[in-house]
């Protein structure tokens, strides 16, 4: 294979990886939006407050749009793969890592020659028996787990998270609504971040490649 064809295929692989990564990000945004929608619906049960009605609608729209984005990106990657296969038959199959798919023969050979990812990860944590953290990690796990449980049980040593706003006797719905509101703000931020980051990462990657070549 000549150098120019190799460069061309490397560029195509980079683009395909960028599209696949964007599709994963969009799927992630869709899952987050669906979770937020579920929370809003819980919080809005029994109320027709316009803020919560709008929040449910906004989360649903976000989930639908993110889902559509993910489908379009997947379609785009498929079309691009078909194009690459036309100009370099078989090249796209090897260059595209299909999420969760079984590797083909060539990929299996490559996979067997390297350490499996799960082994690398397990070995990494096995090197550290205990953290030098004053038990902070375990306190976080316990406190956050405790705070997330419906009703809670016995309070752990360190009091859980800070209370959102002044304590009132308005019941758990207010807390849910506050959490839901914070989640929406986070979701909106994340949604726009995802869109911006997809573009930024892609441009950065291209820029890095251009400098490296």
């Amino acid at each position: 294979m000549t150098g120019s064809v190799e460069d061309l295929l490397a560029g195509m692989r980079s683009l395909l990886v960028a599209i696949d990564n964007a599709a994963v990000s969009a799927t992630r945004a869709q899952a987050d939006a669906q979770q937020a929608q579920g929370r809003y619906q819980q919080a809005a049960t029994g109320t027709a407050h316009p803020v919560l009605v709008r929040a449910v609608a906004a989360a649903r729209t976000a989930a639908e749009k993110a889902g559509r984005t993910a489908r379009l990106l997947a379609k785009s990657a498929d079309a691009y793969t078909a194009y690459v296969n036309k100009i370099a038959p078989g090249a796209a199959g090897a260059m595209r890592p299909v999420p969760g798919a079984m590797p083909d023969g060539g990929e299996l050979t490559e996979t067997h020659s390297r350490e499996p990812k799960w082994r690398r990860l397990v070995n990494k944590v096995k090197e550290t028996e205990s953290a030098d953290d004053g038990i902070e990690n375990f306190k976080k796990m316990a406190n956050d787990g405790q705070a997330a449980l419906p009703g809670g049980t016995v309070a752990p040593v360190r009091p859980p998270m800070a209370v959102l706003g002044p304590a009132t006797n308005e019941g758990p719905q207010v807390g849910d609504a506050l959490i839901a509101g914070a989640a929406l703000a986070l979701l909106v931020m994340r949604g726009s971040e995802v869109a911006v980051n997809i573009k930024r990462r892609y441009l950065k990657r291209r820029h890095g490649k251009d400098e490296g070549s």
């Binding site: 799927t27 992630r28 979770q35 937020a36 890592p97 799960w118 990860l121 953290d133 004053g134 976080k140």
Partner: protein, 144 residues
């Protein structure tokens, strides 16, 4: 069962009385949060939970649920959490290696610990099932 495993077990069983005892005991001894046993228990639990469902959409959905479950979702960053599960399932995702490389063992164990807490809760594990999981985790820990 080792002390570190028993400490983890207290949290996973939501046995806050035993948890408080261990916090005091570990603080007295100047010991930190167990890391290795969390990583091994996470590995065993994720393998069992996802089994043959090798689909990244399942992973993304589980992480989104976990992040929504914990009010302090910042401790469960989406990309890192998904990366650790994908690595455990040995998905051939190009970005998974970056996630493993970018986190130290302590940071990994915090994310894995919270995902493990959610997983044990979701599966409504009995004491026997949890003990079997932790016994497998200890075996993996001792493996050379």
């Amino acid at each position: 069962m080792e002390e570190n495993t028993k400490f983890l077990r207290a949290i996973l069983r939501r046995d806050w009385g035993t948890y408080n005892d261990y916090v005091e005991d570990f603080a007295r001894q100047g010991k930190g949060s167990p890391v290795a046993i969390v990583g091994c228990a996470f590995h065993v639990a994720i393998q069992k939970h996802f089994g043959s469902r090798q689909d990244i959409r399942e992973v993304i959905k589980f992480v989104a649920e976990a992040r929504m479950f914990f009010a302090d979702g910042e401790d469960v960053p989406a990309r890192e959490a998904e990366g650790l599960i994908c690595a455990t399932l040995d998905f051939d995702e190009p970005w998974v290696d970056d996630v493993i490389d970018s986190l130290d063992a302590t940071a990994i164990s915090l994310i894995e610990g919270k995902l493990l807490f959610k997983l044990v809760l979701d599966e409504n594990m009995s004491d026997e099932q949890l003990d079997a999981l932790l016994a497998d985790a200890e075996r993996l820990l001792r493996e050379e």
